[in-house]
Amino acid sequence: MSTEAISVTILMIEDDEGHARLIERNIRRAGVSNPIMPFTNGTAALEFLLGADGSGRDSAGRHLLILLDLNLPDMTGIEILEKVKNNPHTRRTPVVVLTTTDDSREIQRCYDLGANVYITKPVNYESFAHAIRQLGLFFSVMQVPETA
């Protein structure tokens, strides 16, 4: 990532720890060294993003990139996406939806709600690893705005 984006933190919301570990490994293999914060449930992730009061002021001034799985134990990723994109402090944060669902209506809905990228996890591991590495390369050139 470019010098001014050094402080960008990748927020990974993924309930399957195995997937989380594989994603992290492959992002690292692409040469991305940004800190990665893993969350295994939606509640904890939302609390970090919007604060205990849900105002989102905690996120002010942060440089974040969210990697979001849609199938979470406590809520759907769509709910998180909606809250993030509707909050004035977090709405500019790029959200990459990375999930197993390839339902066209689901994809449409995510983009409608403001998702920046939607990626279906390939089942085949080689393709999966490849895709994540590509994503890592993409991250390394991507500009992330500071949250308001």
Partner: protein
């Protein structure tokens, strides 16, 4: 209580019989009574005539006496004229009276005849004496009062005859009155019976008709309810079907997530194993540690073998999950009913395999006898494409391939598609099994996961049809697909 059909027939038939019987009795009695009236009338006429002739007889008798008296007084023949006439007529008149009385009062009549005879004899004698110039003798005869007594007797007899006849006449009139009364009663009673019977009949018919109408209404209501129930069941079925599809979708998705981990970490393991293996192989000379030999064996043989088994199993599982996912996704796809030309679909699918057919020195014949149908184009293309692919895939290598596709209309707004091949066929016990998921039949010399026909059957059912097969091992197979002319009518809310 409802009247049964046979009870109704029996009761109306009985009522009709009773009514007809009453009518017959009335008619017969009337005819008989009218005949009786006729008889009475004739008798009355006869009696009147008899009475008339009796009165006539009396006046003739009186005429005879009058003539006799006149002659005795005047001794002139001219006064004798009524007597002479009466004497001539009297026997005739008596005969007339006898005839008209017709055997009634015979003793009186006999007596009367006798008296008249004697009276005439007495009068003859007086007249003879007068003519003979012995008027005194004649008067003496008269003075004996014999003639007067005879005359009084005759009068009394005549009077009694008249009275008798009149009594008879009165009797006849009374009889006739009674007769008329009887006729009246018979008619009134008959009419009453007919009225009652007709009333009962009308009531029975009315009741029966009302019950019929009620029964019909009930049937109609039941029918309506039935349609509604069928509609409800169809909706329930569609919902259950949807539920199953969703379930399959969720299950496969949830199965997939751990599988990704297994495959991923297997890959990671392999990656980690590579440097380990090359390091162990590079150690020269190998350490004397006895554990080393074991570690080398593990790194170069056991671990790669285990990993390859894990890989092949996960690959297989991945294939199965994908198959289920494909089926459930097909079920979830929203159907688009549109006008589809079956001929076009079959020709397009045939063109896709034409090279393979030509390579097998085979030929295809199409016999399309249907116009467009309302159905889902994509489903039809997949069904026909899959079946044609199978026909090519499972052909017999030793004979030229023959594929025939026929379509025709059948009863009840349905269309039948038959796809026949001369391939290797399917054994009897597998006719149902081949439609099940992951099941295959015959020699396993072709690649495949056993989802083709399961997929086809799911598709056919989704668009409201049914698929069956007829096959003989080693001879060929014919798939018959029966489809609705308009899938919107057949699938109801399933397509909605």
């Amino acid at each position: 209580m409802p009247i049964s059909r046979s009870a109704f027939l029996r009761s109306t038939l009985m009522l009709m019989t009773v009514g007809l019987g009453a009518l017959a009795v009335v008619v017969a009695t009337t005819i008989w009574l009218v005949g009786r009236t006729q008889d009475y009338f004739e008798t009355v006429v006869q009696l009147r005539q008899a009475r008339g002739s009796i009165v006539e007889l009396r006046s003739q008798l009186q005429d005879a006496e009058t003539g006799q008296r006149g002659f005795l007084l005047t001794r002139q023949e001219s006064y004798l004229a009524p007597y002479v006439r009466a004497k001539e007529v009297l026997p005739v008149q008596i005969e007339i009276v006898r005839q008209r009385l017709g055997g009634r009062d015979a003793p009186e009549l006999g007596q009367l005849t006798d008296i008249i005879g004697r009276k005439l004899a007495e009068m003859d004698r007086t007249i003879e004496l007068t003519r003979a110039g012995r008027p005194d003798e004649a008067l003496a005869v008269v003075e004996t009062d014999t003639g007067k007594q005879l005359m009084d007797q005759a009068r009394a007899l005549l009077a009694s005859l008249v009275t008798n006849t009149e009594t008879r006449l009165n009797q006849q009139v009374e009889d006739q009155n009674a007769n008329a009364q009887a006729l009246w009663w018979v008619v009134v009673l008959g009419a009453g019976i007919i009225l009652v019977v007709t009333g009962l009949g009308v009531w029975a018919i009315g009741n029966y008709t009302r019950e019929l109408a009620a029964a019909r209404r009930e049937v109609e209501e039941l029918n309506l309810g039935l349609e509604q129930r069928v509609q409800e069941r169809t909706v329930d079925l569609a919902r259950a079907n949807e539920e199953i599809q969703r379930f399959a979708y969720i299950v496969t998705h949830d199965l997939r997530a751990p599988l990704v981990n297994i495959m991923g970490f297997t890959s990671e393991l392999e990656t980690s194993l590579t440097p380990l293996r090359s390091y162990i192989e590079k150690l020269d000379p190998p350490p004397a540690d006895p554990d080393f030999a074991e570690a080398k064996l593990a790194a170069t043989e056991d671990l790669p073998e285990a990993l390859s088994f894990i890989r092949s199993s996960t690959r297989k599982m991945d294939g199965l999950i994908n198959a289920i996912l494909k089926l459930s996704r097909e079920g979830r796809r929203v159907l688009k009913p549109e006008s589809v030309d079956l001929k076009g679909v079959v020709e397009a699918s045939s063109n896709a395999i034409i090279h393979q057919v030509a390579a097998a020195e085979g030929e295809m014949t199409l016999d399309m006898k249907t116009g467009p149908i309302i159905s889902d184009r994509m489903a039809l293309e997949q069904i026909i494409g899959n079946l044609l692919d199978n026909a090519v895939k499972y052909r017999r290598k030793d004979v030229p391939l023959r594929i025939a596709v026929r379509t025709r209309r059948t009863e009840k707004q349905r269309v039948l598609i038959e796809i026949e091949d001369n391939g290797r066929g399917i054994a009897n016990q597998d006719h149902e099994r081949v439609f099940e998921l992951f099941r295959r039949s015959g020699t396993q010399d072709q690649s495949g996961e056993g989802i083709g026909l399961a997929h086809v059957r799911t598709l056919v059912r989704t668009i409201g049809g049914e698929i069956t097969l007829a096959s003989q091992l080693g001879k060929g197979t014919t798939f018959s697909i029966s489809l609705p002319q308009d899938m919107r009518k057949a699938t109801g809310s399933i397509a909605a």
